[in-house]
């Protein structure tokens, strides 16, 4: 568990006039790592350096103990990469796409087909696997890309925005799959994303880049901290329910702040951990409480704090 | 009508902004250069340059320029921006045709005029031939633009290869097999209008061609333009676009 | 009053593939969210309105007339989900061109294009070629071209995919202001929370069929019609659990660790109402209450994993 996945020392990469990576030094342990940052933060460039597709202007990089500059093909053979954009290989079916991926990684044709079916089964692509990929829905396409990335049994999986464009149910399943890849396969995962909620769910270590510089490199728990004594409350009721509830809360010495969603509020009770007042207020306002839980600092907030 | 003109204008603007347009245009001047050189050596500028311009340069200029660009617009569904405006669906096609014809004509007329000048300088060209070739090039530009736009609307995934395949059949394969088939060749008919001897351009395997007539030439050229355009417009109006 | 949008028994098949099945619906002015998982038929529904696809069966009427008719686009703006434009043009030229096609003369079109591009927040990038635009700027350009001719009906297909949280919030504000101007805005999305911040009126599609339409309450009721798991942490979970087990609406109670219990119910509404009452009666302090099932994604998940007749 404590082995080093990625070691980067003083890594810089400049394109004409643009510094994509600026003196980044980071050591990442095996596990599930999130690579976070706004667009143009240098995430893609770092990924490219790891795959040996881009030569760093200066600095050292080591992936799984190998130097991608010296042996790019060796590194890539042990990495599975799920790109953000659809790699359209027109007219290939799901099975063919996966088998092709496996064969490119050196598996013999028979083994490739066998592994392709296993990977698609694992990723939850059903009978549609015999149809051309371009007709798939977004969710199915993401699953197929995941299957194509794990089909050759890599030791490290790069996922670039794997939940982009997925509906909530598909997103849940995709995240569960990603978590499972680590647990059952012992395969490390690097997740590049801007959807902070994803990170919350599956990662245990976070690397934050902004403007090509390293902003944070820490276990997720450290970044999030613990609760701050406030509660997130969601109620069910008619249009007047929320104002009524807020009045009752105020009458009991609690303060309510808007959370952004319509039937939700963030409540600071008068005494620490005093949920009784909230329940009483709800009863007096005759609203149903559908959600009541201590509010952790969200990654969103941590992120905004880091960027500021 | 103003919609057609607006589309034509933007089509021209887009063509000008594409870098490929500029180096494709260079293709139109190769015949004049080569013709001039051959003319200077005493081999006849027109007999070398004109077939090259009409048979090779013009189609190869028109196909990527018009079919390739418009095919991309259809394939990537960008055309939906046109078709969700209060204009009939054939209007953007007509506008594209107008723009493409104008741009192609400009380049081809220039290429043709330079060749005619080269011919006049090195040979014994009449004053009439100075105008005949450029005028013929306009008709070829219009016909090729129509063909390419029709093909792009009908086969948006493979506009260039289908256009080239169509031209390979009408210009090379069929006329090469059987002499009367030379009548359906666009370049042969444009050559008739331009007053150029077609002998050098078409494979000698097939024997002599039927005698040329300006009326047939005009008819064939018009059909070359109208048939694909009509089929393309029908496809755009009748079919689902999504 | 004629509804702005009216679908009458619309079905659409692409060959044998189902796009929409027997959708009938009427929409009035204001913002409406069009919800559904990937592949539910949201894009097809919008394309039926723009005439991009023709229904295989049934009719679509906009402003009381059957589409497609060319003139409808004087009153309709549409932002498709595609990512490309005429890449050689600048945003100003692109939107001006589309305004001219909408019937304005050159000067008026240019004025409108500039105003609308500034309104969507592209003031800094007006004269840059579209080829250099990022995903977020493309979404804004699409919105601008859909608004430039001041349409009464605006159709937006997934206008918020690929945006970071900040840009998302800006687009939501913009859409809200469009609704406040009295326009009809139909926004497709697969994220309930996203839609919920914009509007209370939603239409839910599932596998090409109309699953629900109306106020969010209707959807809340829909949520209440399938079984819930409710997770509680309490000071004395076993006492609370024993009391809850006596209720008819509770089908199972499970204990997990020292302070957690999980309640399963087939009548969520009654159960949520009963929990605080039972807690007070037994004198147990409930410290938190959460449920993975109290949202729309759970409905979709539930529908997907069988029991199709239940909803």
């Amino acid at each position: 568990m404590s082995a080093v996945l990625l070691r980067v020392r003083a890594l810089s990469r400049r394109y004409e006039g643009v510094t994509a990576l600026d003196d980044v030094t980071v050591t990442v342990p095996e596990g599930r790592v999130a690579l976070l940052g706004p667009n143009g933060a240098g995430k893609s460039t770092l990924l490219k350096c790891m795959l040996g597709l881009v030569r760093p202007t200066s600095g050292d990089i080591e992936v799984l103990g190998m130097d991608p500059r010296r042996d790019p093909l060796g590194v890539r053979a042990r990495i599975g990469y799920m790109p953000e954009d659809d790699a359209h290989l027109p007219d290939l079916t799901g099975v063919e796409l996966c088998a092709y991926s496996a064969e490119l990684a050196g598996l013999p044709p028979r083994e490739a087909i066998d592994r392709a079916h296993a990977a698609l089964f694992y990723a939850g692509v059903d009978d549609k696997r015999y149809l051309p990929v371009q007709g798939y829905s977004t969710g199915l396409r993401q699953r197929t890309k995941l299957a194509a990335a794990i089909v050759h049994d890599p030791d490290l999986l790069f996922l670039d925005e794997p939940t982009n464009g997925l509906d909530p149910a598909s997103r849940e399943e995709m995240l569960a799959l990603i978590a499972d890849v680590r647990v059952r396969r012992g395969c490390s995962v690097v997740l590049s994303t801007h959807l902070l909620a994803d990170v919350d769910r599956v990662c245990d270590h976070v690397v934050v880049l902004a403007g090509g510089r390293l902003l944070a490199d820490a276990p997720l728990a450290e970044l999030l901290g613990t609760g701050d004594g406030r509660f997130l409350v969601r109620v069910k009721g008619d249009a007047g329910a929320m104002p009524r509830f807020e009045r009752e809360l105020a009458a009991r010495g609690c303060t309510a702040a808007p959370s952004g969603a319509s039937l939700e509020c963030i409540v600071t009770p008068a005494g620490a951990g005093d949920t009784d007042a909230i329940w009483a207020a709800a009863a007096a306002a005759s609203v149903q409480v559908r959600h009541l839980a201590p509010r952790k600092a969200s990654l969103d907030e941590a992120f905004v704090k880091l960027l500021a | 009508m103003s919609a057609v003109l607006a589309v034509a204008k933007v089509s021209l603007l887009r063509a000008v902004r594409r870098p490929s347009t500029w180096w494709l245009s260079a293709l139109a001047f190769v015949p004049a250069l080569l013709g001039g050189w051959m003319g200077a050596l005493g081999h006849g500028a027109m007999s070398v340059g004109a077939p090259l311009l009409i048979d090779v340069a013009a189609p190869l200029l028109a196909v990527p320029w018009v079919a390739g660009a418009l095919g991309e617009v259809f394939e990537r569904r960008v055309a939906v921006y046109w078709f969700t405006r209060p204009v009939p669906r054939w209007a953007p096609l007509l506008g594209e045709w107008l723009g493409a014809t104008a741009a192609l004509s400009l380049v081809l007329v220039l290429g043709g005029a330079m060749l005619a000048v080269a011919d006049a300088l090195t040979g014994s060209a009449t004053i009439g031939s100075l105008f005949r070739l450029p005028a013929a090039m306009i008709t070829e530009a219009a016909a090729l633009a129509g063909l390419c736009i029709g093909v792009a609307a009908l086969a948006p995934k493979h506009p260039v290869s289908v256009s080239i395949a169509v031209l390979a059949v009408t210009e090379a394969a069929l006329p090469g097999l059987w002499a009367p088939m030379q009548s359906i060749s666009l370049s042969r008919q444009v050559g008739t209008l331009a007053g150029v001897d077609p002998g050098a351009s078409i494979g000698s395997l097939a024997g002599t061609a039927p005698s040329p007539s300006t009326l047939t030439a005009a008819l064939v050229i018009a059909l070359f333009c109208a048939v694909p355009m009509g089929l393309g417009a029908r496809a755009v109006i009748d079919r689902d676009l999504g | 009053m004629t509804p702005v949008i009216e679908f009458a028994g619309v079905s659409k098949w692409y060959g044998p593939v189902l796009g929409l099945r027997d959708v009938s619906l009427r929409l009035a002015p204001g913002i409406t969210g069009l919800l559904g998982p990937n592949g539910a038929g949201k894009s097809t529904l919008l394309k039926c309105m723009t005439g991009e696809v023709r229904p295989s069966r049934g009719e679509v009427r906009l402003f009381g007339r059957v589409v497609p008719y060319d003139d409808v686009f004087r009153r309709v703006g549409y932002a498709p989900e595609i990512e490309t434009f005429f890449e050689e043009l600048t945003a100003r030229e692109f939107v001006t061109h589309l305004a001219v096609l909408a019937g304005y003369d050159g000067a008026e079109a240019a004025r409108r294009a500039e105003a609308v591009l500034i309104r969507v927040g592209l003031a800094q990038a007006l004269d840059r070629p579209l080829a250099t635009y990022s995903k977020g700027m493309r979404q804004r350009t699409k919105l601008a071209q859909a608004m430039v001719h001041d349409p009464e009906l605006i159709l937006l297909d997934e206008p918020m995919t690929g945006l970071d949280p900040l840009a998302r919030a800006q687009i939501v504000t913009l859409i809200q202001s469009l609704g406040a101007e009295g326009r009809t805005v139909l926004v497709s999305s697969h994220i309930l929370d996203e839609v919920e911040t914009m509007t209370r009126e939603i239409v839910v599609l599932y596998q090409g069929q109309l699953l629900a339409q109306g106020n969010l309450h209707a959807i809340r009721d829909l949520i209440d019609r399938h079984p819930h798991h409710i997770v509680l942490t309490a000071s004395d979970p076993r006492a609370l659990g024993a009391a809850l087990a006596r209720l008819e609406c509770v089908t199972a109670v499970r204990f997990d660790g020292a302070d957690r219990l999980e309640v399963e119910t087939r009548a969520p509404d009654a159960c949520y109402a009963a929990i605080p009452r039972v807690a007070t009666e037994t004198g147990v302090k409930v410290r938190s209450l959460t449920s993975p099932d109290d949202n729309l994604s759970a409905v979709f998940r539930y529908l997907t994993t069988g029991a199709r007749g239940a909803a």
């Binding site: 490119l104 | 090779v56 390979a168 | -």
Partner: protein, 301 residues
């Protein structure tokens, strides 16, 4: 493939035993092939897709028609003594020359169109569709990918020409050529057919890697093929220098064929022109492709 989970209760050996297999993901411990196999993998999957396309089917049908017609016409001519090669010193040898020339020339338009369809836009389309990152994020080298694309672009055109050659050679065996001479003719013909397909494929791959736009790449390929043959033909005819014809992309292989029959009319130093032109086209195409692919920014963003 599947890890066995021991049955929960195996104390009673007499009880019926069942096994539950885990269906979850398992590691791969099987063989891996050397990286030299990559071009074949790239080509094989490309062919599989090509053969499904309607355009390719039409073109193959066209090529098949050409094969049938030329086989029938030449077979008929050869079966009637004295009908061909009457004026030649060695009619048998002339007929063999005809077999090679037909497989090159009769199949030129179908072959060209096949390379145009399958090969000329392939690299550009890959670049545009993000397939570069698909390939190069896997253990695929630029060389391996390019060789694969040349193979996939020219493969079907080669198959057409080669089939024509094989049919015509078989007919010659039936109509009087000796097996030994036929073997030689066949070997030379095969080399020329291979050269033709390779040159078309390499030039197509090279040109198609210059742009992201598939259509533009295809048009450039058509322009190079037609313009080079047209210009060299006209210049050769106008200036009466037959060696100029051998400079064209299609002319160089045709001239090599003519040289083998002794009908090229190139003497002295000029005799090397066709071979040099072949090599030149190949080198230029390969250099273009290599230059572009090796410096491509593989991932966007």
């Amino acid at each position: 493939m599947s890890a066995m989970v021991p049955p929960p209760n195996d104390r009673s050996a007499a009880a019926p035993r069942g096994e539950v297999h885990s269906l979850s993901y398992s590691r791969y411990a099987g063989p891996r092939r050397p990286r030299s196999a990559v071009p074949w993998v790239v080509a094989r999957y490309a062919w599989r897709v090509q053969l499904r396309q309607r355009g390719v089917k039409v073109l193959l049908l066209l090529g098949g028609g050409v094969l049938a017609i030329s086989g029938a016409v030449l077979g008929f001519a050869w079966s009637v003594p004295g009908m061909t090669g009457g004026g030649e010193a060695d009619p048998v040898r002339a007929a063999e020359a005809q077999a090679i020339a037909s497989s090159l020339e009769a199949q030129f338009i179908p072959g060209f169109l096949l390379v145009l369809w399958c090969g000329a836009g392939a690299v550009a389309a890959d670049l545009n569709a993000g397939a570069f990152q698909f390939h190069f994020a896997r253990p695929v080298s630029a060389q391996g990918y390019l060789v694969g694309r040349v193979l996939s672009g020219a493969g079907l055109a080669f198959a057409l020409s080669f089939a024509t050659l094989a049919v015509l050679c078989a007919e010659r065996l039936a109509f009087g050529s000796t097996p030994l001479r036929m073997a030689l003719t066949f070997a030379v013909g095969a080399a020329l057919v291979t050269a033709r397909a390779t040159l078309l494929g390499v030039v197509a791959a090279g040109l198609s890697s210059l742009t992201r736009r598939k259509g533009l790449a295809q048009a450039m390929f058509a322009a190079v093929v037609f313009a080079s043959s047209f210009v060299t033909r006209i210049v050769a005819a106008a200036s009466d220098k037959p060696w100029v014809r051998a400079l064209g992309l299609s002319g160089c292989v045709d001239a090599r064929a003519a040289q083998w029959h002794g009908t090229a009319g190139l003497h002295g130093a000029l005799a090397a022109v066709p071979l040099l032109a072949c090599i030149g086209w190949g080198v230029v195409g390969a250099a273009l492709a290599w230059w572009r692919v090796s410096r491509a920014e593989v991932m966007r963003g």
